[in-house]
Symmetry: C2
Subunit: 337 residues, 2 copies
């Protein structure tokens, strides 16, 4: 560690951080995941469960753990490619993951909408095409906070990506074809919406600096998972008041209707205790009560984090087909789902 | 929220924090847990799986989520009692939990070694005795950092308690009697040892104040899960150096031997990213390699937290009987295991 940066982090040399993280994860959970040699791509250990199935590959910059590698395993992702911190994985590593999980039925890529990721996953797709591996992809852009952003044209891809992983992973495990998975991905995408608030920024281990600074009594609405700006700063509010604003924003997109079914993900950003996440969840459920809505599927926890950022995101997914709910509930063998 | 305290927390009135947390958790996961009315005791929803079995009850102060309520469910705890933040639950609430999970085979209490918890769980045991409910208990004291402490005579009970929950929960699910569970608990206890480091203290939502202050470049060895003092402060070290010290301390207790089997729990304290926990795990596994030891069971994540404390604990459990490993691997239906 550089002597001039006193980061409050349990690491060794920041340059080796992702390599060491991948080794720690794959050694500790060798029955679930393994590393593709000489890469930071992580693939399902249980090869038998992937035979005759479409491979599902995701990935992106590191710092969002357990995303993405924590969702590799039977019934969910076939592989995840870990880039450097907040940096897209390189096309050659994505390509290695595609080759590793192709079993003749093609490979589907789940990409979060950041320019670097979109470009590198596309290049990997081109490399795979030269090998006659059929590859299709979806770009997830569930964050409703802002249009365009640092690193992004359009909307950002955030925690709602996990619903995409879960539904497509179950479909692939159940033998869906590449075309069926592509159709399913495009069907669910417009129904998954997320919005976040932040109380503090992540401290990037490569720089030792926080991504932004908020005053001691300040919060920001709509912050991204790489400390991208949101849409408003103000004095910190109660959980109830936050929920009021976030649900109002989500309702503008999804037009809540008590005749519909919804899934919900309350996602901690890294440093927000579960205690607070459950209080927030209680306020969300109370607010949804006013629409006569009780979600039929719920998860609360640290799923799509931003290193040590304090904050929370709320994802609502309108379930238009009971098959989608079945896929959400389909059993998986992963580290973190 | 008091206007004079700007806590960076997503909460409403701190006085209602635990009530709202329990409601959020039980509403979101109603298929797994439910609240005993008018208490903050949480009991397994699946009553059928508890028939003819010994009930296993744990609990303690809140602020350690997902401990304890996250481990209630088929195959693990029958009930958990949530006290106020860092405060023992009251005897009457523990007693309600005992009554709720007694099915004629008796109830076993897993208590972390803090004076308030020990006293209150004992009083609840006395209340249950007046109802002719047979109750036995174990006091977990796995933290090797210091003898005696704030709130504790002897050693503190920390993350190793989860191994106790897991092993006893599986034994109860498999029909072990109260005496058999008591014997098992006392057999495994001396083989479970934990030690922690902290980079920052928890901020208690009742006071808005951190439990202690460390300089920007400072860490402390042996801190407890309520910000109790450890045994040494110094400039922050690399993960490798931390591991070297922690493993040396654990070896003094457990006398590592490559002919033995070990389980390992790397536990984040709340604000320490999984990325760092996996780097630390990699260093632990490398260090254990030097003893020719590879743990046969491993878990990494935020299990026994201390609100938003940055830090990590390492628990090693020497598995002296293959039955214990079978119980560690026994499937459960809980929120957080």
């Amino acid at each position: 560690m550089k002597e001039d940066i006193f980061m409050k982090k349990i690491i060794n040399d920041p340059q080796n951080l992702v390599d060491e993280m991948v080794q720690g994860m794959t050694r500790a959970y060798s029955s679930i995941v393994e590393q593709i040699p000489a890469t930071n791509a992580i693939v399902r250990s249980d090869k038998a469960s992937m035979q005759e199935k479409v491979g599902i590959v995701s990935g992106g910059g590191s710092g969002h753990e357990p995303t993405h590698a924590g969702f590799v395993g039977k019934g969910m992702l076939s592989a995840a490619v870990c880039g450097q911190v907040f940096t897209s994985p390189t096309p050659d590593q994505i390509y290695e993951a595609i080759k590793a999980v192709n079993h003749g039925k093609g490979v589907y890529l789940v990409v979060k909408n950041y320019s670097g990721d979109v470009m590198n996953f596309d290049m990997a797709k081109d490399l795979a095409a030269m090998d006659d591996i059929e590859v299709k992809s979806i770009v997830v852009d569930d964050d409703i906070a802002v249009e365009n952003s640092l690193y992004t044209q359009g909307r950002r891809g955030v925690a709602g990506t996990l619903f995409m992983h879960k539904v497509l992973g179950a479909a692939a495990q159940n033998g869906a074809s590449l075309d069926e998975i592509d159709e399913l991905a495009h069907a669910i995408l417009p129904n998954i919406k997320t919005i976040a608030v932040a109380l503090s920024a992540a401290t990037n281990p490569m720089t030792g600096q926080p991504g932004f600074k908020l005053a001691d009594d300040e919060m920001e609405y709509g912050v991204g998972i790489h400390s991208e700006p949101g849409y408003r700063r103000e004095k910190i509010k109660s959980s109830k008041e936050l929920v009021e604003e976030l649900i109002t924003k989500l309702n503008e997109e999804l037009h809540f209707d008590s005749r519909n079914k919804y899934a919900m993900l309350v996602n901690g950003m890294g440093a927000t205790p579960l205690m607070e996440q459950y209080v927030f969840t209680n306020d969300v459920l109370n607010k949804l009560d006013s629409f006569n809505i009780t979600p039929v599927f719920m998860k609360i926890g640290n799923y799509m984090t931003s290193i040590d950022m304090a904050g929370i995101s709320l994802t609502i997914f309108e379930i238009k087909d009971d098959k989608w709910l079945e896929y959400l509930n389909y059993p998986v063998q992963t580290i973190a789902w």
